[in-house]
């Protein structure tokens, strides 16, 4: 189960699953699937795709949350990596980080 500290993080994650048409990530964030290695890899990769998309939104002045993409992406990073660490998949998260 992915635990977000702030409700906005969850809202933003879902917003970008929609914007990126990533139904698998949406199902993971909705806790509709048990997180295994494949799901852990998927949301680790989704995070960085979401970051790139949010940076583009910011450039176009279309990022919907007034606190800004960098602030919220750092919060989401902490929640996602913390959840994956708790579930025993932090190595998958770290491998994806290494590829960035």
């Amino acid at each position: 189960m992915i635990l977000f500290r702030h409700p906005e993080e969850r809202d933003i994650a879902f917003y970008y699953t929609g914007k990126l048409a990533d139904h698998k990530a949406a199902a993971i964030f909705a806790n509709e699937v048990v997180i295994d290695e494949t799901a852990a890899l998927h949301i680790s990769e989704f995070f960085w795709t979401m970051v790139d998309c949010s940076i583009n939104c910011t450039k176009e002045k279309k990022y919907p949350w007034p606190d800004g993409a960098e602030f919220w992406n750092e919060k989401i990073l902490t929640s996602l990596s913390g959840s994956l660490e708790r579930l025993g998949f932090i190595d998958i998260w770290d491998d994806v980080v290494d590829k960035q």
Binding site: I55, E74, G82, V97
Partner: protein, 157 residues
């Protein structure tokens, strides 16, 4: 003097003695305070303090203790690397420096580091007692002077 090839080497040495706290910061930005241009459009910045980071009184004159609010730091190489990569992505035209302190040796009285209950390796710099915002600013400036910087952390990560 021994040269450290990577931040890992340094951390391996230091962790035998005490906690090391690291904060990636874009070039030209301050490690503990915010300039207006470093904040989001709607962020409230008072004397360099980003209001939403701290547990403040309603009139914003006092900062109060809170175990899960304050400035973010990393205590592990891996957590640092994640945050560093994110900062790099968001600040594509600027190098990212890494500022670090030793918990026991370097932090001013009235500060402490509290580990994030949701993420091992992520810490909040918090206050131990209610203090004036102006006192917080003075202490944050003092802390920044005690921090060591690794310029352009991409060379060591």
């Amino acid at each position: 003097m021994e040269q450290f090839k990577t931040l890992c080497d340094l951390q391996e040495l230091i962790k035998e003695y005490e906690l090391i706290l690291m904060r990636p910061t874009p070039q030209l930005s301050h490690p503990t305070l915010y300039r207006r241009r470093d904040a989001a459009r709607d962020d409230l910045i008072i004397k360099g303090v980003r209001v939403k980071d701290w547990f403040l009184s309603e009139d914003h004159k006092w900062v109060k203790p809170h175990d899960q609010m304050g400035l973010s730091f990393s205590s592990t190489y891996k957590n640092l690397k994640s945050v560093y990569k994110l900062k790099e992505r968001h600040n594509a035209s600027r190098a990212i420096n890494i500022y670090w302190v030793l918990e026991k040796a370097d932090i001013p009285a009235g500060f402490k580091f509290m580990e994030d209950i949701m993420k091992p390796g992520h810490y909040f710099l918090t206050v131990t007692e209610t203090m004036l915002l102006s006192t917080l600013v003075t202490k944050l400036k003092l802390l920044s002077k005690r921090m060591t910087v690794i310029r352009d952390g991409s060379k060591v990560l």
